[in-house]
Amino acid sequence: MELIGLFRQLLIGISSGMVIFLMAAGVSLVFSGMNIINFGQGAFFILGAFLCFSIVNVLNLWWALILAPLVVAILGGLTEFLLRPLYGKSILYQLLLTMGVAFVMVDGMQAIWGKSIRTIPGPAFLSSTLPFLGLDFPTYYIFILIISGLVALGLWLMFEKTKLGMLFRAIISDREMVGNLGINVALLFNVMFMFGVWLSGMAGVLMAPIIGIDAQMALQVLFTLIVVLVIGGLKSMRGAFFAAVILGITNALGSMLLPWFYTLIPATLMIIVLLIKPEGLFGKPEE
């Protein structure tokens, strides 16, 4: 039945949207706290996917979920050191530097894993489908939805309930004050950045079994992230969530229902939002 097909696509859309949200949340967090846009987030995502590929060959997906994002996060921490001289400088240099890092990473990944597109078979129990009302719902997408939902929840909890989260919130609202309180802002920045990158790595692991892992994909992922963040508002987690999920749904439903120009919706929305409400749908205007 048509309607079930729609629901299926909706599921796919929401879950991929959730994964995009994780990455977008990472960029948004770093931007809110440090005023830096990590244009290399796409590369970190792919790295997570590649690491997942390697780990799955030796261990299994669960180990990948734990280890891969950590490795990616460490690499992110190193990148943050490189970014230090750029604090407060223009977006141009941020773009160029993070792109430079992305280039190095893409090359490194191709050197390690080769240039061909890698795929991973999903874990056996998850590659099945769940029959429901006459159609098969891919269990893996349900799995993604659950895990990213948990991560998002954990993110929220960390932010609101833990000391680290409180420090993050403090930095976001008044960086200078936090420094004046004797807290090691540089270290906090590093942790914040690593956290943002960790989210990307996690997203990479989650998506790894369903995409063809290709280093050159990093750019496409970056596009999507930028579009999501601009629409939702660069500093707004809520905005990133809604924008990511809505774009995920639009994409999933569009590919099923509309001809080719559904692919233009994200960029067009981005332009419209920038023209009408440049701070993003959920953003606050800067005075």
Binding site: Y93, G100, V104, W260, P278
Partner: protein, 316 residues
């Protein structure tokens, strides 16, 4: 007197460069001549970009869209529109100017961050259109079958054609760089608010810079379509935009010829070294990182203080 000499020096320098470039094509093997053609075209592209970046202090993050507009409008007018080369050239320029005007007007409505993001957004939009509207643009595979002007079909004579075209553009740009307009452009980079309080309509001014920059990029695009004898989505991609910015950075954005040098470096590394070293992208990445961290002024550097006295009086 000194000024007249300086002017002649720059003309003299230009003549020497053109002579050297002309002679090179006679001695180099075909592969290198083809490469040099690409360098010339990308140098034009990078210089057009630098009008905004180095001279005006703007951040057009998606400048390849104008290169691509040149490429695709020329290519489509030629293949699908069945126009001859010259009218296709003219038509492509016209389309590019109009697009520059519209896109520029929209991009300049907000502050500089909004400009950068809108610019990026338009680049993404156009790239997506080119990639997905397969029936019209050939999608990922592009369209082949663009020819070169009759007399200039083979590699060597086409090189001279491009050399001539690019040289004319450089002469025009050079005249522009020495004009009052360009002086005010630099003022825009240095202190936009001061310029505003000197009575200048900043938005209109930026739009004019934008259109000029887009125009020269479109010319580069048309030449590129002829070089590759086809149109391909990479010509309008974000990667190409980023490459342009890298060329400006590496060669030096505070000088006229800096971006051209950067273009030579980037094109040679990405084409030539890729046959010897597999990791050319990483190499480029490292160079970029080094430039951003260390040598913000690129290879050709920044203006330094003229008087030695002032070193003692550097204002905090």
């Amino acid at each position: 007197m000194l000024q007249a000499l300086a002017r002649n020096k720059s003309i003299g320098f230009g003549v020497i460069v053109v002579i050297v470039l002309s002679v090179l094509a006679l001695v180099l093997p075909t592969y290198w001549t083809q490469l040099l053609t690409r360098v010339l075209i990308m140098a034009l592209f990078a210089t057009s970009l630098n009008f905004q970046v180095g001279y005006a202090g703007m951040f057009p993050l998606g400048h390849s869209m104008f290169l691509g507009l040149g490429v695709y409008s020329f290519g489509l007018l030629f293949t699908k529109g069945d126009l001859a080369l010259t009218p296709a050239f003219g038509g492509a320029l016209l389309i590019s100017i109009m697009a520059s005007g519209i896109i520029g007007y929209l991009c300049l409505r907000g502050d500089s961050m909004t400009f950068a993001l809108l610019h990026l957004g338009f680049n993404i939009l156009l790239y997506t259109i080119v990639n997905k509207w397969i029936s019209f643009t050939g999608g990922n595979a592009g369209i082949v079958g663009i020819s070169r002007p009759g007399l200039f079909s083979d590699t060597q004579s086409f090189y001279y054609f491009v050399l001539a075209a690019v040289s004319i553009c450089y002469i025009l740009m050079r005249i522009l760089i020495n004009s009052p307009f360009a002086k005010v452009t630099q003022g825009l980079r240095e202190n936009e608010e001061r310029l505003r309080f000197l009575g200048i309509n900043i938005r209109r001014f930026q739009l004019v810079i934008f259109i000029i920059s887009g125009l020269f990029a479109a010319v580069a695009g048309i030449l590129l379509a002829m070089l590759d004898k086809g149109v391909f989505p990479t010509d309008i991609s974000l990667t190409k935009s980023a490459e342009g910015l890298m060329m400006c950075l590496i060669g030096g954005m505070f000088s006229f010829l800096g971006p051209s040098l950067g273009a030579a470096i980037v094109v040679i590394i990405s084409t030539v070294t890729s046959t010897y070293i597999n990791q050319w992208q990483g190499l480029l990445g490292i160079i970029i990182i080094a430039c951003v961290i260390g040598f913000r002024g690129g290879i050709l550097g920044r203006r330094k203080s003229k008087l030695r006295l002032s070193k003692e009086r550097v204002h905090q």
